[in-house]
């Protein structure tokens, strides 16, 4: 066993030392793999960033209630009656002022996007007094909260960053009226940061919604109270609703776009990986061909077939890992933290997010690279092992 290992080691080191002689081919293979890894990481960092923005790990005791059959707040509708019933349900935490629940409206307002200058759909949410308390991670970072009944709004940090004209003291026009931006808020990095908030009572007439809402956000007495809350609502004959945990809802809302980006990314990365694989195979085949004489000599001297196979694969793996590391590092530097905003088709509105290169993503990427390296070395390695020794030795 030791003998075998030392055979592998000695051949491998010998191989690796000859790489500088084959700089051109080696660099090519490594660059090919670096490219694959960089693209893979880049595209997936978009998906990761988007998903992160949408599913920030908020408190586990926030529930959302929508009309049954709606797949998003936009298409849901709840009357004041229904909203009152929901807020009074068992499981909802209570404060001195009343239940910790906020009936909300979710609409769109068109505002110019900074990066393109053209209009984008920005989420505009009408909330009740308890909204921030319900969510638990909303903080005013500049200015103050809006006062109920007034034409005032607060803007999430993401929205302020993505759109122009949303600074403190600026105003947005809604029909005939102007609404002043009185505060900027943060929401723990989650979806709320892409939104503009105002008083639901002020939003309803502006958007001709009468006295209807679209959703109710409720803070429960405990995460375990969810089931009780849900059961109470779904068995109530006067209500036709759908009850979800906030985390579930957000994940659902981002599923289509995340799925699309990931699907897209996988296809691109697969095709590139295939291309890189061919490049790696080419490199390794020519490496083996160039060393036919040496390999035959080694075999004549008594080195076994398997150390030779392994040494070729190790060499290919080494090249791939170097390429993969370079690609991953380049992608991290280029992409991580890059601010962007895009439209989430499911909510039909903008979501601000940052490209996120996670450790898990990097691990996947390097694994891909290693796989390419191993595969790229396998077939040439087998060919090297099966060389007819005598003929190869005769070859000049």
């Amino acid at each position: 066993m030791i003998n075998w290992l030392s055979q592998v080691a000695s051949i491998t080191f010998f191989n690796l030392r000859t790489i500088p002689h084959r700089k051109g081919a080696a660099v090519t293979a490594a660059v090919g793999i670096a490219g694959v890894v960089a693209v893979f990481v880049g595209v997936f960092s978009i998906a990761e960033g988007f998903r992160a923005a949408m599913t920030v790990a908020g408190p586990d005791d926030v529930a959302i209630v929508l009309r049954s059959g709606s797949d998003s707040e936009m298409t849901s509708g709840l009357s004041r009656e229904e909203v009152r019933l929901i807020a009074d349900a068992p499981g909802v935490a209570r404060m001195p002022g009343g239940p910790l629940a906020s009936a909300e409206l979710f609409v769109i307002i068109n505002l110019p996007k900074r990066s393109t200058g053209t209009d984008a759909n920005v989420p505009l949410r009408g909330v009740e007094k308890a909204a921030a308390a319900v969510r638990g991670d909303i903080r005013i970072v500049e200015g103050r909260m809006f006062e109920p009944g007034r034409n005032e709004v607060v803007v999430g940090v993401g929205a302020a960053r993505a759109c122009s004209g949303l600074g403190l003291g600026r105003a947005i026009r809604v029909g005939q009226t102007e609404w002043k931006v009185v505060g900027i808020f943060s929401g723990g990095g989650g979806a709320a940061e892409s939104e503009i908030w105002t008083d639901a009572a002020v939003l309803q007439p502006a958007y001709h919604r009468g006295d209807s809402f679209q959703s109710v956000y409720a803070r429960l007495t405990s995460p375990q109270a969810f089931q009780e809350f849900k059961d109470a609502l779904t068995t109530n004959p006067r209500l036709k609703v759908k009850v979800l945990r906030q985390a579930e809802y957000l994940a659902e809302q981002s599923s289509m776009l995340t799925g699309f980006i990931k699907g897209f990314g996988v296809i691109i990365a697969s095709l590139m990986a295939l291309g890189a694989l061919f490049g790696a195979l080419n490199t390794m085949y020519s490496a083996v061909a160039a060393r036919t004489h040496e390999i035959a000599t080694l075999r004549a001297l008594g080195f076994g077939a398997s150390p030779i196979i392994l040494s070729v694969m190790v060499e290919s793996l080494a090249l791939a890992l170097v390429g993969g590391a370079v690609g991953a590092a380049a992608a991290y530097v280029a992409f991580d933290g890059f601010q962007a905003a895009t439209i989430n088709w499911q909510t039909f509105s903008q979501v601000a997010f940052a490209f996120t290169v996670t450790p898990r993503l990097l691990t996947y990427a390097v694994t891909w690279a290693a796989a390419i390296g191993l595969l790229g070395g396998l077939f040439p390695a087998l060919r090297a092992a099966r060389l007819p020794v005598a003929a190869a030795l005769r070859d000049t």
């Binding site: 490219g35 509708g77 609409v107 958007y207």
Partner: protein, 385 residues
């Protein structure tokens, strides 16, 4: 042409290496074709936009409705030929959000007159006019669900419930096709009068308007006139050319084109490296043979041309096959009809692809070709004495 034999035979050398190079080039161009198709799928709304059409929506946002009375009012504005309304119905089919498609109540005759890109046989149009619950469906959509004329389709809408809360019932009376390759034929259109009468709320409102102008050169003027007409009213409008409206959606996605170009560049650069390296290697191995050609009388220029021809031949075989494969894949139809209803590889992109194939061949081959050209014959033929 006589030299083609020489070039072709050279490719048969080291078949494995040539095949691998061919395959990586093939993959690169499949990717190119695929990305171009995806880009076109997103941009279809812009490319297919009518130059003489405007979109009029509620100024605050698209999701707010406009009065149906705006139509006739706009038609009285000078420069406006006709105005046709659409409304977002948000149909859910078989209770499954994944079955998403665009659904709209419209006024049949004006709608078909405005949207000449939708081709509907006359008899089907008559059937639609006669059937209150009739709906016309796009060809792509019928292929997705296997619908035929005469089928009854019940739909629900979370935003537009029906009075009495039953499902909306429709009968398919027509199937429309697109006038051009990029026309979206995944829509479901039914009658506005049926909708307006049975809807639980919002009677007399519509989503947005398409407006045709009489003079294409006065598009901006007419747009301003429309917005001025409704300024300071409870329903203010924003009017823009159809192309700009479609473009606005794509812009909302962010810098999509940049990302695509970035990916393609990365891929092409890598492939270039691979192909170039293979070429260089091949030339290095053939120093002796190239020397013989020169000895026999092949001029430097001819040798350069032969090496370039070889590299172009490799990229051509791989690249054209890749483009062809991508084109065939796109011709099968959209892989995700719910998100990208239109899916094909536009001819301009194919031409661009062919250009890239030869550019790639030239760039990959130029260094080795120059090397070959400058080979000193005596050096190339020198044997170890």
């Amino acid at each position: 042409m006589r030299f083609l034999v020489l070039v072709w035979n050279n490719l048969k050398r080291k078949k494995l290496r040539t095949s691998l190079t061919l395959l990586s080039i093939f993959v690169a161009f499949v990717l190119f074709g695929l990305l171009c198709s995806i880009r076109e799928a997103f941009m279809a709304g812009v490319s297919m936009a009518g130059a003489d059409r405007l979109v009029v929506r509620h100024k605050v946002s698209l999701i707010m409705n406009l009065p149906v009375t705006y139509g006739p009012r706009m038609e009285r504005i000078p420069g406006v030929e006709s105005a046709v309304h659409w409304t977002w119905f948000n149909a859910i089919y078989q209770d499954e959000p994944k079955n998403f498609f665009g659904s709209f109540p419209v006024n049949p005759e004006p709608f078909l007159a405005m949207h000449s890109e939708y081709l509907l046989p006359e008899d089907q149009k008559q059937a639609w006019l006669k059937t209150r619950t009739g709906a016309i469906v796009g060809r792509t959509l019928t292929q997705r669900f296997g619908w035929k004329i005469g089928d009854r389709v019940p739909l629900t809408s979370p935003i537009w419930p029906r009075k009495g809360d039953q499902a909306w019932e429709f009968e398919i009376v027509g199937i429309y096709d697109g006038a051009q390759k990029g026309t979206d034929t995944s829509g479901f259109f039914f009658r506005y009068d049926y909708f307006d009468e049975a809807r639980a709320r919002g009677e007399g409102t519509v989503g947005w308007y398409f407006v045709r102008v009489t003079d294409v050169n006065r598009v901006a003027e007419v747009a301003n006139a429309i917005d001025a007409e409704f300024a300071n009213s409870p329903y203010e409008t924003k009017t823009e050319p159809e192309g700009a409206f479609a473009q606005g959606f794509i812009q909302q996605m962010g810098n999509f084109t940049t990302i695509l170009i970035g990916i393609l560049s990365a891929v092409f650069f890598t492939i270039l490296l691979v192909a170039g390296n293979t070429m260089a290697q091949a030339v290095r191995e053939r120093t002796g043979e190239l020397g013989v050609l020169k000895a026999v009388g092949f001029s430097n220029g001819l040798v350069l041309a032969l090496v370039l021809a070889e590299s172009c031949l490799i990229t051509a075989v791989g690249g054209l096959a890749g483009l062809g494969a991508a084109w065939l894949f796109a011709a099968r139809g959209s892989p995700i009809p719910a998100i990208l209803p239109v899916f094909y590889l536009p001819t301009e992109n194919v031409i661009l692809g062919v250009g890239l194939v030869f550019a790639l061949g030239l760039v990959a081959g130029i260094l080795p070709a120059l090397q070959a050209m400058r080979l000193q014959i005596a050096v190339a033929l020198r044997k170890t004495d």
